[in-house]
């Protein structure tokens, strides 16, 4: 009996962005990293009217949530939100999450846009956690030649994670 999803449409930027949306952790937080990327469509053109949302554990792999059976750890918002700009880019300031249930560090990502009748969901993994990635049970279910689309590359101030909605190098999206 779930209410159906509908597209955010072209004007989501009047309603959804928050001033502090991109900062999962405040600027100046030790070990904070910028995750930056560009959203592309099936023509390889940038998508200037998308919204990226992120959800993740804290650096210890814990959540500020009552359904974390190990106990709720208050204080870490864990959530980021950033609309893409005219150049299709977004950026989120956060800390790299810890290991959760033996999985490699990862961030769940929702992408919303005009032309997407429902969000699409993907995951960010981190290039410098190669051993953990190789053992990750979710990554291992992804066809090997597409796994690279889920792995953020290291940059000067953090990581780069592009999203390709369609076509060559299409990002792996999940049914959650």
């Amino acid at each position: 009996m779930t209410t159906p999803s509908q597209t955010v449409g072209p004007f989501l930027s009047i309603g959804l962005p928050w001033e502090d949306g991109p900062t999962v952790v405040p600027e100046g937080t030790p070990d904070a990293v910028w995750i930056r990327g560009t959203v592309y469509d099936g023509n390889g053109d940038v998508v200037p009217d998308a919204l990226i949302e992120t959800w993740q554990a804290d650096p210890d792999g814990r959540f500020d949530h009552p359904d974390d059976p190990r106990g709720r750890v208050p204080g870490f918002r864990g959530f980021g939100r950033c609309p893409t700009g005219k150049d299709g880019t977004y950026n989120v300031l956060t800390q790299v999450p810890g290991v959760v249930q033996g999985q490699a560090p990862h961030i769940d990502v929702s992408v919303f846009a005009r032309g997407l009748l429902d969000r699409v969901v993907t995951r960010i993994y981190f290039a410098d956690k190669a051993d953990a990635n190789a053992a990750d049970e979710v990554l291992r279910t992804v066809p090997e030649d597409r796994r690279h689309t889920l792995i953020a590359s290291k940059t000067g101030d953090g990581y780069r994670f592009d999203v390709r909605l369609q076509g060559e190098g299409e990002t792996v999206f999940f049914d959650v």
Partner: protein, 246 residues
């Protein structure tokens, strides 16, 4: 292989929606999907801790007039004043309390206050079209706003969007995140709208349509509409590997 007893977690799990009750990502009638929907099959993501938790956002995100879109400026906006109310529920009918709801919409003439919306209907200087609230302890929400107008778009010949309000809700876990549109009863534009009709199942489509609610229509003031928002329900909890039972 048996994991040590100290390595078990009990996690909720969220039911997937029945076939036909959600819009397919590729929907040819809605032209903007053409270059934006993934063509590779989705990969099944097991619901682990990251997926059975989610942001719990509430009162800290609200400003004083965020649930009344008619009092956010010096003057009153043009148009039909309405009260939109209902409940945020999960798929088993359980109310979701203290949960953020965000809305955005066009003004009475069908114009959004957005730089890219420039169809010839005027901006209303007294209407921004953005609201937020949180559900109460019984999952109830309420907004006072203006009934949005229909507006034309370029999808097909003489295409018009039925009047709608965009709604964004979080529920309590990542699978419950939902952005949708609330429609008004008996809109004559439904038949030609590819976004509304992208949902294959007729009963599911009707769950996006609000109900005129005379009991909440306020004399000499505003028309009432009722609309419940339902996010995915839970299955039985399952045991998962790692760490302590609680």
């Amino acid at each position: 292989m048996a994991a040590p007893a100290s390595d078990k977690l009990i996690l909720p799990r969220y039911r997937r929606d029945p076939e036909g009750t959600q819009p397919p990502l590729g929907s040819p009638g809605y032209g903007s999907t053409r270059l934006r929907h993934p063509k590779q099959p989705l990969v099944l993501l097991p619901q682990k801790l990251t997926e059975v938790t989610g942001p719990l956002l509430g009162p800290g995100r609200l400003g004083e007039h965020d649930n009344d879109l008619t009092v956010q400026h010096d003057g009153e906006p043009q148009g039909q004043r309405i009260i939109v109310h209902g409940r945020l529920l999960d798929g088993d009918g359980r109310p979701i309390p203290d949960s953020l709801i965000e809305i955005w919409q066009a003004n009475a003439g069908g114009r959004y206050r957005h730089v890219n919306d420039n169809w010839p209907s005027p901006i209303d200087p007294n209407f921004t079209g953005v609201g937020r609230t949180t559900t109460d302890s019984e999952g109830r929400y309420e907004f006072t706003t203006i009934k949005p107008g229909a507006y034309p778009w370029g999808n097909h010949d003489n295409a018009w969007r039925p009047a709608h309000i965009h709604f964004s809700v979080f529920g309590q876990a990542f699978p419950q995140r939902l952005v949708t549109q609330m429609y008004f009863p008996d809109d004559p534009l439904f038949f030609q709208d590819p976004i509304f009709n992208s949902v294959p199942d007729e009963k599911a489509r009707q769950r996006m349509v609000s109900r005129y609610d005379h009991s909440r229509t306020t004399a000499q003031w505003a028309l009432g509409f009722e609309w419940d928002i339902v996010v995915r329900g839970r299955e039985q909890s399952v045991f998962e590997d790692e760490e302590d039972d609680q």
